[in-house]
Symmetry: C2
Subunit: 324 residues, 2 copies
Amino acid sequence: MKLATYRNHRRDGCLMLVSRDLRRARPAAPFAATLQEALDDWERIAPLLQQASAEFDLAHEGEPFDAARCLAPLPRAYQWLDGSAYLNHVELVRRARGAELPSSLYTDPLMYQGCSDGFLPPNAPLPLADADWGLDFEAEVAVICGDVPAGASTEVCGAAIRLLTLVNDVSLRNLIPAELAKGFGFLQSKPRSSMAPLALTPDELGDAWRDGKLHLPLRVEYNRQCCGQPNAGDDMQFSFAQLLAHAARTRPLAAGTVLGGGTVSNRDRSLGYCCLVEARTLETLETGGARTPYMRVGDSLRIEMRDGSGHSLFGAIEQQVVAP
Amino acid sequence: MKLATYRNHRRDGCLMLVSRDLRRARPAAPFAATLQEALDDWERIAPLLQQASAEFDLAHEGEPFDAARCLAPLPRAYQWLDGSAYLNHVELVRRARGAELPSSLYTDPLMYQGCSDGFLPPNAPLPLADADWGLDFEAEVAVICGDVPAGASTEVCGAAIRLLTLVNDVSLRNLIPAELAKGFGFLQSKPRSSMAPLALTPDELGDAWRDGKLHLPLRVEYNRQCCGQPNAGDDMQFSFAQLLAHAARTRPLAAGTVLGGGTVSNRDRSLGYCCLVEARTLETLETGGARTPYMRVGDSLRIEMRDGSGHSLFGAIEQQVVAP
């Protein structure tokens, strides 16, 4: 099934069922008022939602689906963890800031705990308070999981994946080096991220979802030019199940935890980039200096994933940079 | 007013009003079913709760308050940020692991984003899956805030402090060096923290709450021996308002954000320690080796703060280490 959250007068919005063709929507009530409510009691509620969703797909009822009314599918979450499973990205970004590559890179996932108290809606403006902060986007695939016990195996973690979506993990690049030098990870350098309009159960993805990876190209348009379309299933060193197991090694993960796979990045450079810092690093390596500036007021961004038939799976993240 | 959350069949429990003498309790319904619900609409709900609380204090109704029924006041939160405002602790801990002191230590708070998807109840057993992980406690004062806009001033942040409580910020010391070396902050080395039974509005603290600091001793008993009673108002380099402003520099903070001030630690060594690593560091400096082991199965911990008349303010965190 395909789920979205419409804006209403409440912080968690109104959970909606969306038809497979993204044309129609209906409230998920009476089964669940919000996505967190569904995730809290998934074993009981998901079958009801699946049934209602299947019936809704066959019917011709409901209102037209309107992405402009969407909040993030999970407008606030109890946890946001972001792995860096695409090592090509890790290598380029660390090279860009002159940081060392950890020796455990291939066996021990890099992951940070980020802010989850608000995910921006898919069409939210991206506020840029200070151009010197170096605003960058990062296009990612993310999973939303159910309860995971501490020390859970990769298999248990894989089975706990409830939904997938897309995330724009916003970075303030010029704040990162000083912050990481303090040793406590990202804080000011990672403001709120945005989510695609839709979250999908894995069955909606057919065989593109296998081995805990989503094998489809993630397309990014920056200022209306395609700058990247790497395949999210390629060059991903750790599956989502492995990333969840890493996070759950010493603690349980609560239902509604959102876990990102990191900026999608392929070694094949013809497939472009999903964040500006990769372009800047390559320019620096090739010409001695970065030509591509970080985002500026007025810049636009579109992140989308289509299936083999060209149909949008999650709807599009479409954002524009604004002065706050 | 004094608020607690009782265990029921729901994840967020049942919000309770507790009498000033901690003897009686009543449900906070019909005003708010959960603490998050109250925080989400504080301007409207808090005056109703304050009024009900004042009436409850004068009456002789209600059931006996039972700390054993308590979850954390906020059983799950959208954000947990932990500052390190007591520089004596920072200096000792970093010396212990041979890490450098950042040059900006006195002007730029150290802060990390930790897991907030579950806070342990005040009486929850502390699971120790692997004794080699180096389980340690950290006794802290924490604030719970309302909505804070991005870039908010220290004054605005101070006014957004809704509640105070105590936290045991659990650390797995032996996992920290390798994790911090990866550069992305704490993840596996900081499992779930626990909270005291009660969260108090600042007015309950009288003039012990001033300048954005709580000027009372925080008493820690480890295996029934007092190991520390430093004053939480002393040697705190940054006030809670300053810590919130640091967190909000590039992003808003949502209502229900929990922010810790870091392990309380005074420069006067006669006042002891609120975490084992400080004892171990001092032993190492004095004798060349640490004698105090990290926590072991069966160890007990009690964290409490009393007012000038000896009355417990937040109830006690009382935990015992268990094999999982």
